[in-house]
Structure formats: structure tokens, C-alpha cells
Amino acid sequence: MELLREIATTIWMHKLRTALTAIVLIIGIFSLIFLFGMGRGLSNGTMDVFGKFATNTMFVWAQRTTIAHKGLPTGRIASLTTQDAEAIRQNFSEVQYMSPRLQLGTTRVAAGQNYGSFEVRGETPDLKFILPIEMEQGRYINGLDLRERRKVCVIGTGAKDILFKGASKVIGEYIQVRGVFFRVVGVQASMQTGDQGREDDMAVIVPLSTGQVVFNLIDRVHYFTISCFAGVNSNVVEAAIKRLLRDRHEIHPKDMLGINSFNLSNQVQKFTGLFAAIDGFILFVGLGFIIAGIAGIVNIMLIVVRERTREIGIRKSIGATSGSIMRMILIESIIITTISTYIGMVLGVATLAFFDYLITKLEVESIFFSNPEVNFKLVFIAMFLMIGFGALAGALPAYRAAQINPVEALADE
């Protein structure tokens, strides 16, 4: 206690010197936390684009063939069917959800006096488990709708706002698509940001089977959205599904475009890798700052010891042991390091919180940036490390101080 009081007095009486020592480290810690938080914000923002998308999802569709096969020319487009969906379901136990999808194009949709152009799609109940959508009202398409070809629909929140201006309850209302009435059973909201999310919010969804019948596209399917069970290598399943479809539609096994696909897990992996790299880079830069901060402390403590040579000489002449001098310098170093770290931390976290507040308040949550944050466990680990570093930084200066010869120190002017 007495020692701490003695050191506190010394620090207080040399405010400028102490502040200069601390400032390098404060900036270092602040930068580290700020950079980490911003990196996390970037990562959060980008990952939000995927929303709660099942990240092992793939899309499979047919395009014009590029290789002639079995006497058939190039340039054909295979017509995928409901039977293909059955085949996939029967052959692949790795597939958890599979949704054959029908695109009816952008169509004029009306509800009473209101109307607008919306993308109309035929979907199956599985899709709800694949796409990151939430039911704002009502329910999604279910198995009964599909079997009985019910004329029901789910509309996106955006479509709801246009078709039912201001109305809060729209379940049970009717909309008209190409002269056919559908009863609204649900309103869906996408959890994705960006174009994808907007698309789902502006969609009008009918049961696949109803769409096929009503719009005269018997058994037709435009593409499949498929997600596998966790732990399954979706790349392997993707390739096998494409082999199956090529075989069923007389497409050359090597015709990559004839049956084409897109696998979301590759995309997610790329981003995950990218952000790991960014985190690593930030850590590297941040550590650089901290090392510079510590070197600064060692440097300034050495100067402080030099400057205090005479004081140390006086203290020794009136009975201070080398040990007590060493403790004094060491603890001073630890106190400065700890306080600087703490200040830097508070500043960093406060700045991040302020950014977060601004983003929320001004609603500038952009596609690629949201919720900057910092892992508190990391912060505390860093803080304990800094106390250790403080001891380390103080060790050399403290040793130097202890070695000071009082005779020379007192002669020092």
C-alpha cells in the first residue's frame, strides 16, 4: 500500500512524462480494438448477405447444350420436370431439402384497385427451410396446397405494401394473377440483405403444382434448389446430381453448361477464408502497434531511470535497497501499462459503440457493413497480456535502476 502510494505520488508529480509514456500504448490498444471491431463489422455485414441461408445450398438448372450427343445437336435446352425431382429425391439420401422451382416471370398482379408487377414463382414447402425467409403473417405453402393444387399464395412484404396499402391483416384476401384469383395465406420476409433479399420480398409465390396447371406448364420445373445434410460434401453430391440429370436428358456427360449449377458453400468458404485473412492481417498490424507501444514504454522507462538517477542515488543514500528501487520502477511500469491499456480499451469499445449507434440511427446499414463488435474475451486476454508486458517492459529499466551506483548518481548533475 505504502509502495503504491509512493509510486502514485511519483506518477502524479510527473504527469506529462507519464502521459507521454502512456499515449503510444493507448493509441496501440485503441487501434487494435478499433481495427478488430471494424473487421468484424465488415465480416458481419457480408455474412448477412447470406442471411440464415443453409450454407450448403446449391442451385441446378438447364442451359443450351454445347456438345452434340447421341445424334442430338447442340443448342437444345433440356426441359426439367417434376419427375427429375422425384429421381433426385430417390437417388440421393444426402439431400435434406429439395425444391423444384417454377419461374412464371414478372407478371401484373392486382388486388382490388391496387396492382403492380411482381415475380411470380411456383414453389414447394421445402424451400422455406432453404431460403432465409421468415413468415411475417400466416404460413408458407404446405403439402396439402401442393397435393390439392390449391389456389393460394404467399406474398413478400414488399408486394404486400404495394398491393394492400396500409392494411395490416392481409391473410384471406385475394390477389389476381393473369386473371386467376389466389387467396393470400402468408406474408414472407427475407432475412437477407441486398438484391437477393429484395427479390424475395417482392415475390408472389404459389404452390408449384397449382402454377404448373394454372399457367399451362404441366410437369415443368425451371431449376432446383437443393440443400444437403450437415457434414455432407455438397460438391460431390452436386456433381452426382448433374450426372443423373445429364443422363436423363440425353446430354453429354462433359457438357458443363447443358446442366449447370451454382454451389453456395464455395462462395461462403471464399468469404470465410477472406475474413480469416483480414482478421489475421489486423492481428498482425495490431500486434505491431502493441510491440511498438511496449518498445516505447521500455524506451521511456529507460529515459526515466536515467533522468531519475539522482533521485535513485538519494533514495539509496538514505537507506533504499536495490530491491526496493527495482520494485518501484517495475510497479510504475505495470501501472502505466495497465492504465494505458484500459484507457485504450475503453476508447476503442466506446468508438465502436458510437459507430454502431450511428449505423442504427442513420439506418446506413449497408450491404457490406453491420454491427461492428469486439470479442470481450479477447479484450480481457489482451489486458492480462499487457500487464505481463508491462512487467516485461519494466524489467530492464528496473534492473538498470537497481544497478545505479549512489556515488556516481549523486555526482550526476
Binding site: 505504502e2 502510494r5 509512493e6 505520488t9 511519483t10 508529480m13 510527473h14 539522482r310 533521485e311 542515488g313 538519494i314 533514495r315 539509496k316 543514500s317 538514505i318 537507506g319 533504499a320 535497497t321 536495490s322 530491491g323 526496493s324 549512489p406 556515488v407 549523486l410
Partner: protein
Amino acid sequence: MISLTKINKSYKTGQGSLHVLKDVDLEIGKGELVSIMGSSGSGKSTLLNILGILDQYDSGDYYLDDKLIKNLSDSAAAEYRNRFLGFVFQSFNLLSFKTAQENVALPLYYQNVSRRERNAIALDYLEMVGLKDWYHHMPNQLSGGQKQRVAIARALISKPKVVLADEPTGALDSKTSYEVMNLFKKVNEQGITVIIVTHEHDISRLCDRAIKLKDGVIHNGEDESAFTS
């Protein structure tokens, strides 16, 4: 109180070594007020540093209060300095960022005396040197004579057996010099051995005895003029 026999001390220099103290024999009794005289380079500061256990000697024996002071550990030397010795310097050597009271109390800090207690004791000693009203002043708010009196109070607070003063009046005018010397006399009357290093004859004459040092050798009973610089 102090007994030196055949003390030798040399310093290494660039070319070789400089023999500063040559077979110094010295006896100083309890309660004496002595001066050590000599011109600069005579070895008087080195002698004082050895007496003050701030410096080591090469050969010989030094007994302080019948204890052999030789090859002491760092902490033992610190303990002796703290309990047996009080230092007064030409340049006062007060800590500039502490008040007069805190400066006086500092030796007791190293004896683990509580803050309240040591500050109370420090106030008594400041009263003794006539500076009680100045206890909360910083050194730079005090005159030279006042600073030296604070330094003397600091030297006395640990109730030392010996007070060592290195040119205590060197930075003071003659009037304050005499005031300081009167203080030393008062201290001496309490039975504390006082050793004053000086090159001023006026000061030396106020002491019971003068020890004259020239080129590292003690000269007794020689003509004073030999030391006039």
C-alpha cells in the same frame, strides 16, 4: 565510533589506476565534531563515501560502531545507511517533487513506518531546524539555507549515530553557513558524531578537530598553510 586502519582505494582510469587513498588510518570517537579538510582531488570525498558505505574500499578495515564494514550485501549496506548514518550534501539533494515534510520523512518510509506516523515525526524535526511553518513547501520554494536545514532534518530523523556532511556550506553565503554550522553543533551536543568535509578554514575552525588530507594521505599537526589553495 569510527575506526579505519590501512584503508586503500584506487580507481581504474583509462591508462591504469589512480591511487586515491593510501594507507589511511583514522579514529573518530563517539560524539566528536570533526572536519575533513583537503583541496579537490585530495581524496576527501572518496573517504566520505567509504565512511558512508556508499563506496567499497580495496584493502584495510573499517569498523563502524565496532562492526566491520566489509563486503556487505546490498541490503545490509542499505540497512546501515538507513539506521546508523545521516547524509548532508552540498547540493542538498532533496527530491524536488516532494514537500519539505515528505523529504524529511523519506528515511522512515524505508523503515516501513506508517505515513501518518512518519509525517508527524518529520514535523518535529522540521520544528527543531526552525522550519515547522514551511512543512508543505516544495524545495524550489525554499532558500538555500532552508533547503540545507531540511536536509539536516532528513539526516537526523532516523536517529543516526554518525552524520556525514559533504561540503554542507559550499553553496551557502557566510551568514547562512554559520547558521547551518550552529545547527550541526546543536546536533553534536545531542551526542551524535558529526563529520564535515570542507575546504573552508572558517568552517573547519568551528569543529573540535580537523583531519587534513593531501593526495590521499592524512597529515596531522602540519602547518595549515600547506592546505591553502
